[in-house]
């Protein structure tokens, strides 16, 4: 089914929001991490600044998140990856506590205990993990729960093309097909597993072709395009809601930034990203909307302004929030009995 005007506009606005979020984070992340504020001799200090630790940003990969999540209800589960912000935003995780978590603040989703790779929002049924291939098994579990509870909820597991070579990928696909679970496995092929290109790590060209080995549909999405992702995902989600089992979708997407911020990217051809950016999916969707008279320049300006304001508010909220008390580190290992 083609996307409605409302859906197209929602996808556009969310992509703008995600891109602005990631670009804002890329800048904020550098605060306090560069000379002369750091240990002499260092070029960069990963542990300094208001947002320390690793930071994996998803600029360029927005179509995967919005094209899939445009089909989802609040009750549907999404399990993301170590590069999770675009999925979280598209699933409806509120920006304020999400951002506060990355600042390590007590107002964060996990009270500062998790950080950017470990965002848990049970209300919006979103979670993620810093371990490669870890999204697939819990998505099977969410699908199993929906089935046992008699609901038409579905679960989506996002993962990168590198994760398709983990045992958890193969075990989960078999289990989901065997038990006919309402799961959609979505592979984001951004071509790079840190420094290792897909061609040097994966024995076949399309991960989605592995679907046939497990008895489920395998769907190729050739272009990093929100509409293409939306249209490819629809039948898979309907199939899952009808109780007919899982599907595997692979999207060829683009990673504009490093594996993590501060990645020297010595492995990557210098002009690769500038070429990728020529196919930026955000202006592409704006052009489509305008061609179909669904968006005026004024409306476009309003959408961008709204998205930017939400992001600005979230970073402001995070900065102004308090750190947890040090002793709070000892709490939450177990919930109260």
């Amino acid at each position: 089914m083609p996307a409605s005007k409302q859906t197209l506009l929602w996808m556009y606005e969310k992509m703008v929001e995600i891109r602005h979020y990631e670009e804002t984070m890329a800048n904020v992340y550098l605060e306090g991490k560069l000379p002369p504020q750091i240990q002499k001799g260092l070029a960069f200090d990963i542990g300094s600044g208001p947002v320390p630790g690793e930071m994996h940003l998803a600029a360029g990969q927005e179509p995967v998140a919005v094209g899939v999540c445009a089909h989802l209800k609040k009750e549907d589960t999404v399990v993301g990856t170590h590069r999770p912000h675009h999925f979280a935003i598209a699933k409806g995780v509120p920006l304020n506590p999400m951002t506060a978590e990355m600042f390590g603040k007590v107002t964060g989703l996990g009270k500062g205990k998790g950080g950017h790779m470990h965002l848990f929002d049970p209300e919006h049924k979103f979670s993620c993990s810093g371990i490669i291939g870890a999204s697939l098994p819990p998505a099977c579990g969410a699908g199993l729960a929906a089935k046992k509870l008699g609901k038409d909820w579905v679960a989506v597991a996002f993962f990168g093309e590198g994760a398709a070579n983990q045992g958890s990928f193969h075990e989960s696909l078999n289990l989901a097909a065997l038990w006919s679970l309402p799961v959609i496995f979505v592979c984001e092929d951004n071509k790079w597993a840190i420094s290792v290109p897909k061609s040097q790590a994966t024995s076949i060209d399309w991960v989605a072709d592995r679907a046939s080995a497990y008895g489920m549909p395998g769907i190729h999405v050739e272009n990093n395009d929100a509409v293409d992702v939306f249209e490819a995902t629809g039948p898979a989600i309907e199939r899952a809601r009808r109780g007919e089992g899982p599907s595997l979708i692979e999207v060829r997407t683009d990673r504009y930034l490093g594996h993590f911020q501060g990645d020297p990217e010595v492995y990557r051809p210098k002009d690769e990203v500038s070429n990728l950016r020529k196919n930026d999916p955000i202006p592409k969707l704006a052009s489509l909307l305008k061609r179909q008279s669904m968006l005026t320049d004024v409306e476009e300006g309003a959408i961008v302004a709204r998205a930017r304001q939400r992001v600005a508010d979230a970073f402001d909220f995070a900065r102004k929030s308090a750190y947890p008390a040090a002793q709070d580190a000892l709490n939450d290992v177990f919930v109260a009995a």
Partner: protein
């Protein structure tokens, strides 16, 4: 006469691997991002250029497959070095490590040699949260069948790595990110030191007294050695002379070095970045407790380690749970003020 120069621990490790690869064609390296990237923490820097892709093999993200393959290749006569990028990732491949690599020699009645070096990055302190900050060396030391090497500086790292490659048994070689001398992570400068260009080995099971003192023994390992040395300098300003013992390897463990030092000082502080429960600090305490028939303690043993919580992300939380220089100083001061119960020493 050997020339020395100051190296970072990452440089010392990659130099050791390169020298052994030149000497022994059966040595090769497998792991994620160890080729063009040179290892995420620099432990294989420059090796791809020297040895090519046949011997410096970037792998898919398939730890079960390539660590299991290392066991198989070793059983077939090769000497693989395999890298598990972060020790925290052991969860995806532990069966191959502890049920096979660690046990096959024993189950074969000693008839199979498995000369595998499993390198892995450990440690926190830079806010990478619960899945990328653990030490876990006690977990691997707990399970029989793996030698466990945990260097604190470049000189030791080179000698221990060459020893590890030449050992006919599986060796876990665990390097702390915060002493590798990376240009993108703060580190303790004491970890970069003079390293000879020639090859040399450091036998396993020989702890090193890295600072002599008479008042209190601080037993430690890895990055915590560097913290303990800074703490000992501060304590010296207060007239308290701490002896710092770098265990260097957990398996085998140099029990005699611990007992000898504690016999001299009568006070023991164990400083550890691994978890407190069922770990290194408990093991060292037990060794002392078992020898109280001959050993006289002036004060009860003190332990510093991560309280039994996952490593939190937020900076104030992480700094609270990981022992810092200040906590070592404070613990040593407390130790000087406490006494064993009267009669205990009688």
């Amino acid at each position: 006469m050997s020339t020395t120069r100051k190296l970072t621990m990452a440089q010392a490790i990659s130099e050791a691997v390169a020298q052994e690869m030149t000497r022994d064609p059966s040595v090769f390296v497998m792991g994620e991002d160890i080729g063009a990237y040179g290892g995420i923490f620099g432990a294989t820097g420059g090796l791809l250029e020297k040895f090519g892709r046949d011997r410096i093999m970037d792998t898919p993200i398939s730890e079960t497959a390539f660590i299991g393959a290392a066991t198989g290749a070793a059983a077939s006569g090769l000497r693989p070095i395999v890298e598990l990028m972060f020790v925290d990732f052991f969860g995806v491949c532990m069966d191959q490590i502890y049920n096979h690599l660690a046990k096959n020699t024993y189950m074969a009645g000693g008839n199979i040699k498995l000369p595998v070096v499993l390198t892995t990055a450990i440690g926190g302190g830079y806010n990478d949260a619960a899945q990328h900050s653990q030490c876990l060396y006690a977990t691997f030391a707990h399970m029989p069948g793996l030698k466990v090497v945990v260097p604190s500086n470049a000189y030791d790292a080179k000698g221990l790595m060459i020893q590890a490659i030449r050992d006919d048994n599986p060796v876990m070689f665990m390097y702390h990110k915060g002493i590798m001398g990376l240009p993108w992570m703060a580190y303790f400068e004491g970890s970069s030191n003079e390293v000879p260009e020639t090859t040399y080995t450091i036998p396993f099971g020989q702890a090193k007294v890295v600072r002599e003192g008479k008042d209190v023994t601080i037993v430690t390992i890895s990055q915590m050695v560097q913290k303990a040395l800074v703490a000992a300098d501060e304590l010296a300003k207060q007239g308290l002379n701490a002896e710092v013992i770098d265990l260097r390897t957990l398996v085998p463990l140099d029990r005699a070095a611990v007992l000898k030092s504690v016999a001299k000082t009568g006070r023991l502080l164990i400083a550890d970045e691994d978890y407190l429960g069922f770990g290194l600090t408990g093991e060292i305490s037990a060794i002392v407790a078992e020898n109280l028939d001959t050993l006289v303690l002036k004060a009860p043993v003190r332990r510093l380690a991560v309280p039994n919580v996952p490593i939190p992300y937020s900076r104030p939380l992480e700094q609270f749970v990981i022992p810092q220089v200040g906590s070592i100083v404070a613990a040593a001061q407390t130790l000087m003020k406490t006494r064993v119960a009267e009669g205990a020493a009688a």
